[in-house]
């Protein structure tokens, strides 16, 4: 675990969210906290030498329903997760976020939009992007 990337409130938020589920309001179709704190879908961004990788967790979609745009160092993800309720369906607990989601995140460096490869497997969207030429680290010769 990288300590410099540790968000001190992350564990607290996640623990509180899990406690909400355990002790959630009884008898109500929508509990104390029916959506996770923060935004959906959760996104992680990783850095490799020449690549940036974005991972978003959003189960239950079809690959063609995901709208992904890359411009410079910014990535916008738009998707819709609608649950069609059957005619006589009643909900007792609704924790999974549904609706339309749009998120824009900033990457550590600019990327080349033509190099973007995105895959959606098991509910995980993985976007691999090559960094733009000018953002790639260049080795500098030290002359004496």
């Amino acid at each position: 675990m990288l300590l410099d990337n540790w968000n001190p409130f992350f564990d607290v938020a996640k623990t509180l969210e899990e406690f909400d589920r355990v002790f959630g309001e009884v008898g109500h179709p929508i509990g104390l906290r029916s959506v996770p704190r923060g935004t959906f879908p959760p996104i992680n961004i990783y850095n490799q030498d020449d690549k940036a990788i974005l991972v978003a967790e959003v189960p239950g979609l079809k690959a063609e329903d995901i709208d992904l745009t890359v411009l410079g160092d910014s990535v916008t993800l738009k998707c819709e997760r609608q649950e069609q309720a059957a005619e006589n369906e009643r909900f007792y607990r609704k924790e999974r976020p549904t609706g339309t989601f749009t998120r824009t995140v900033t990457l550590p460096d600019s990327v080349d939009p033509d190099s973007v490869k995105a895959t959606y497997n098991n509910g995980v969207l993985k976007v691999q992007m090559e960094k733009a030429q000018e953002a790639k680290a260049k080795k500098i010769q030290v002359k004496s």
């Binding site: 992350f10 009884v26 850095n47 239950g60 009643r90 609704k94 509910g123 995980v124």
Partner: protein
């Protein structure tokens, strides 16, 4: 109390179990019902179909989903940790475990539990005297 309400009200002793197996996260679950069945939907991204374990034992339905560990490089920004999922629920006494079906696609597990006969709504005919 109707069986479906019992299901929603009493997640099985989650707090003590978490102490024994701290490496599991609880996935988000939707619980709904129709006339004939109770439906549970688990969000378990990163879990393949083969890595899902569902057990129905006595009064408890336990779902475990194991994720593939993948290394993507150095973390720059992290909103979610990667880990295995586990979440049990209490079943009403008279559910037949043969009547439970499960389907896993794109990280979404859908479990359908057929209600025992007496829990299904019945139309009552009025017979006039």
């Amino acid at each position: 109390m109707a069986p479906e309400e019992k299901l929603a009200r009493r997640p099985e002793a989650e707090v003590t179990r978490r102490e024994q197996s701290p490496e599991y996260y609880m996935p988000a679950v939707d619980i709904s019902e129709t006339e004939n069945e109770v439906i549970l939907k688990y969000d378990m991204p990163g879990v393949e179909k083969e890595k899902v374990e569902i057990t129905a034992e006595k009064n408890t339905l336990t779902v475990i989903g194991n994720v593939n560990r993948e290394s993507f490089g150095d973390v720059v920004y992290q909103e979610t940790k990667i880990g295995n999922y586990r979440r049990p629920f209490t079943l009403p006494d008279d559910v037949d475990s043969d009547k439970i079906t499960a389907d896993m696609k794109d990280g979404l597990l859908t479990i359908k539990i057929e209600k025992p006969e007496k829990a299904k709504p019945k139309r009552i005919e009025i017979t006039s005297g």
